[in-house]
Amino acid sequence: MAKRIYGIFDDEEILMAAIPALKAKGVVCKDVQSPFPIHGVDKLIGVPRTRISICSFLYGMTGTTLALWMTWYMMVHDWHINIGGKPNFMFYMNLPAFIPVTFESTVFCAAHGMVITFLLRSKILPGVTAPIPHLRVTDDKFVLHVDVKDESKLNEIVGQIKSSGASDVLLKSQQAV
């Protein structure tokens, strides 16, 4: 497994210039953490397209199915409830009355599913210590995640990161300062 090291940068301009230079030398840049969004950095390091939209669609479909099943079971199958003389013997006859519920349930499942998936995937559930390599990344430092596949080249890569403008290179995530 590749070893993850962290290049600490003081300025996002230096970081943005360093990424293509490092990539040209064959350094594997995996991720960037920064206190604010840096425009275009995701394209620079080649972060793959998020798949959360696919999740969202699936969660939404789950919500739709759940709501339709629930309304069918409660209102048509298990116990006919005559509300305002609306036809309630066949599901499709009363479908318009169930659409708001279905809509809400779809939104509910999609939204909650997306948030929970995001939290799980990012390992930032409540009560879990956030995996921050350097505490000042929430303030004024920029962290470049670099994967080292060949441990024998570690010193060389550290040197390359430093010479590209990094103020420091961490070999291990620094959880407490």
């Binding site: 425009h39 275009g40 394209k43 939209s53 305002g84 318009p96 009355a97």
Partner: protein, 392 residues
């Protein structure tokens, strides 16, 4: 970059041919059935006026929101607004000569207590629905819409010349005033032009519903004009990022149109009050295919076609989405106009489609000529840099 659009030979001839077809269809319409001809005219006139209005609305919203991404495309909605004057002439002529066929509240016998046709509902609405007040309102709407279209256009063109920032500030103010006036006039004009066809019926959602159909069909038309200009080699600065935003607008407002369509239908269906249900009863009995098909092509089709990110970034799929929305909302207005005018004797033949082609020809002619009058990029707009670097 700041080139003008040059009209090609086809741009000059094809709209003329389309308008000729339209004239033939209108004449044929008056020879076959006068009511049908007026209804078809009202339907198409309203639809294309609405699209032109959506152009001005779009420009105003972008100014008020101070949105940067749309600067590169804003000459297209601006040019679309140029059609409003033709729509105004058309609507005034239609009301002046066709009101007896279209709006039964204009008939005198309903207001005469000695007449067996005396209608207490119409008498109750007479304070609002009477010919003088209707005419004043109609002229006022068009004065507001055309006035603000011209003012916004003038500021934008003047900005090209002297580059002063005052034009942007003034446009923001104009846009804000227009939005307030438009919020009222879009609703009231929808009541006047379309809802008063079914004079007994009313729906509080009708104004929003009409407005959102207007906006989404305007967005689709704007999108197709941009794609056409790109096809002709103009607007290289409009990349897939900008098209993605336009696609998102089309997708979002298609869904919102469905939301309002369903809200209006479901509440009336559920409450089941005779005076309200009558509107959907006639549609269910005589227009069922169109009425359900309208829902399908305006919701399911754009929803599935434009849902993914990749789809919104592809020119071909945007063409498909734009054409679907454009035709779908044409049918939507058809289903709003026809049941109250021609009722169960409706047709979808040469008269309907021919008139639509004629109006489309006039619209294309007007918009392309407006486009050719000014550079395609507002080169002194303060947010031009932002639109050039727009990435999503």
């Amino acid at each position: 970059m700041d080139t003008n659009y040059t009209l090609t030979k086809n741009n000059k001839t094809i709209p003329m041919i389309m308008m000729a077809i339209g004239v033939v269809a209108i004449v044929m319409g008056f020879m076959t059935d006068t009511t049908r001809a007026w209804a078809v005219l009202l339907h198409n006139n309203f639809y294309f006026t609405a699209i032109a209005l959506a152009g001005t609305f779009f420009v105003a919203v972008q100014y008020v929101a101070q949105a940067g991404w749309a600067v590169g495309i804003k000459r297209v909605p601006e040019a679309m607004g140029g059609f409003l004057k033709y729509g105004a002439i058309g609507m005034i002529l239609i009301f002046a000569f066709g009101h007896e066929h279209l709006y039964f509240w204009t008939h005198n016998e309903y207001y005469d207590p000695n007449n067996p046709a005396y209608d207490h509902i119409l008498v109750g609405k007479h304070g609002f629905l009477n010919i003088p007040f209707f005419s004043v309102r109609m002229v006022l709407y068009f004065l507001i819409w055309i006035g603000f279209t011209m003012l916004l256009r003038k500021e934008s063109l003047q900005e090209d010349v002297d580059g002063s920032l005052d034009h942007f500030r003034k446009s923001v103010k104009l846009g804000a005033i227009f939005l307030i006036l438009f919020a009222v006039t879009s609703s009231t004009s929808a009541w006047d032009f379309l809802m008063s066809i079914d004079s007994h019926w009313f729906s509080t959602l009708f104004g929003w519903y009409t407005f959102i159909g207007l906006f989404v069909s305007g967005l689709a038309t704007m999108c197709m004009f941009i794609l056409y200009l790109k096809l002709k080699g103009y607007m290289e600065h409009v990349r897939e990022d900008h098209l993605h935003d336009v696609g998102k607008f089309m997708f979002a407002f298609s869904v919102f149109w469905t939301y309002l369509w369903f809200s209006q239908f479901m509440l009336i269906w559920y409450a089941n009050l005779p005076e309200e249900v009558v509107y959907f009863k006639v549609r269910w009995e005589h227009y069922r295919t169109l009425w359900i098909g309208n829902f399908m092509i305006n919701f399911i089709a754009p929803f599935l076609v434009l849902m993914t990110r990749d789809a919104k970034r592809q020119i071909r799929i945007l063409w498909v989405g734009g054409v679907i929305i454009f035709i779908g909302h044409w049918f939507d207005v058809f289903v709003m106009v026809m049941p109250g005018t021609v009722g169960k004797d409706w047709h979808l033949g040469f008269i309907e489609f021919g008139t639509m082609i004629g109006y489309l020809g006039l619209f294309i002619w007007s918009t392309l000529h407006e486009l050719a009058k000014a550079p395609l990029v507002a080169k002194n707009h303060p947010m031009l840099e932002e639109t050039l670097h727009h990435h999503i």
